[in-house]
Amino acid sequence: MDAEIRFTLNGKSVIFIGNPLRRLVDVLREDFGMLGVKEGCGEGECGACSVIKDGKLVTSCIIPVGSVDGSEIMTIEGLREKEEGKCLIDAFADGGAVQCGFCIPGMVLASYVLLRSNPHPTEDEIRLAISGNICRCTGYDLIVESIMLAAKRGEELWTK
């Protein structure tokens, strides 16, 4: 039973026609080529598939595409075009936060949501904000420091 689902993807209106129970992660990767959305666990546990839905961080592997009718979805492909995204990505690179990179799109999206609501987070608040994003490589410390760096460098970006 095909359904017609309309949503906004990185600022553009898109239409999906197909099985509304397909997982958002699969639709974003296979139908819309958003390969920055990664799949780790498939069970909502690791955060690799994180996207921003109507301003909120969600894991796209446990959401059926039928749930996003009328929503605004942003993936890393959309965020990297924004000043805030560039600031975060540069800070992650300069801070040495990236090893294999698999978790990084999710980490950057989680950091973006954090800094938008809390431009001056403490270390503890940062760790809480990325607590649903698992990194198998870095041990997190350099990621946390890079987010602090982005908060500092981006000052007026995050408070505007």
């Binding site: 359904a3 509304p20 699969d26 839905k53 909120k56 959401i63 059926p64 809480l128």
Partner: protein, 288 residues
């Protein structure tokens, strides 16, 4: 290929008609259903029953507000929305704030937490402490029942096959002291191993109300009104003399099969700590 029956109703009325005719199971956040029927990368989950995606009905099912008969929480309210709403009593807010990780708290719903009736679910426990009711609607009308009666056991509820949970009502509770504590394995996505909430209402040095409930400790949340009665009506300075009697009555409702002794010991220790604090004149407030 089998046709996957999936509906996407545009209104609650339409959802109720679909529920009546096809008995389609509501999919709210999907955080239980999508994971239970996960088939693998690139494969859509296949449900052995018709489903309807109700996530988009939050205009009708997603509000939290205070009314004359208590705090109404719409079925689609998420843990983050509940945790940040100051009209919601402390134990429910606190439990919501400790569910999953930030992303899960934007996806899960209170209707799904109750509908799923997992013994590990975090919201039924404080709701039962507060005598909350679940509001059930079908095309034929509405009925309400205590959450405690609605959840029959592990994964079993009294939901009829033409009904949808539209929300929860928490009746006005008078309490001076609240307690909530969850023990899980790690900070994010920690499924409860044990959870406990309790409340005191103390007026002029007398215990007017006292309640305790424990979760994740067997097929159902446990409360014992008989045990609670032991402390109700006492003057604060009489409470410590009766605490032993309360704890052994409380202990007898916790099944040793569901809960090994060390866990029963931790619930007793947590309750004892809270009771002693209140008995010794602790200021009204929220305790963990």
């Amino acid at each position: 290929m089998d046709e996957v029956k999936c509906f996407i109703p545009k209104s609650l009325d339409e959802a109720l008609r679909i529920r009546k005719e096809f008995h389609a199971k509501p999919l709210a956040g999907g955080s239980d259903l999508m994971v239970s029927y996960y088939k693998g990368i690139g494969i859509a989950p296949v449900f052995p029953f018709p489903v309807m995606i109700i996530s988009n009905l939050s205009d009708e099912l997603g509000t939290i507000r205070k009314e004359d008969d208590g705090v109404h929480i719409g079925a689609l309210s998420t843990p983050n929305e509940i945790a940040s709403s100051m009209v919601v009593p402390y134990p429910v807010r606190k439990a919501a704030s400790l569910m999953g990780a930030p992303s899960l708290r934007n996806t899960a719903t209170i209707g799904g937490n109750i509908g799923n009736a997992s013994p590990k679910g975090d919201l039924p426990q404080p709701l039962i402490l507060l005598d909350a009711e679940v509001v059930l609607r079908s095309v034929d009308g509405e009925r309400r029942m205590k959450v405690d009666d609605f959840i029959l056991g592990s994964k079993k509820t009294a939901l009829a096959d033409d009904e949808i949970i539209t929300g929860i009502v928490i009746p006005e509770v008078k309490a001076t002291h609240y307690f909530y504590h969850k023990i899980g394995m790690r900070r994010a996505n920690a499924i409860s191993k044990l959870s406990l909430s309790a409340l005191f209402d103390v007026e002029d040095g007398v215990v007017v109300d006292f309640r305790a409930s424990s979760g994740a400790a067997g097929p159902k949340v446990r409360r014992s009104r008989d045990a609670e009665e032991i402390l109700i009506g006492l003057k604060l300075d009489e409470v410590s003399g009766k605490t032993g009697e309360f704890l052994s009555a409380w202990n007898s409702i916790l099944s040793p099969h569901a809960m090994p002794e060390y866990r029963r010991a931790s619930t007793r220790r947590m309750l004892l700590g809270f009771i002693e604090e209140v008995a010794s004149g602790a200021l009204p407030g929220n305790y963990e």
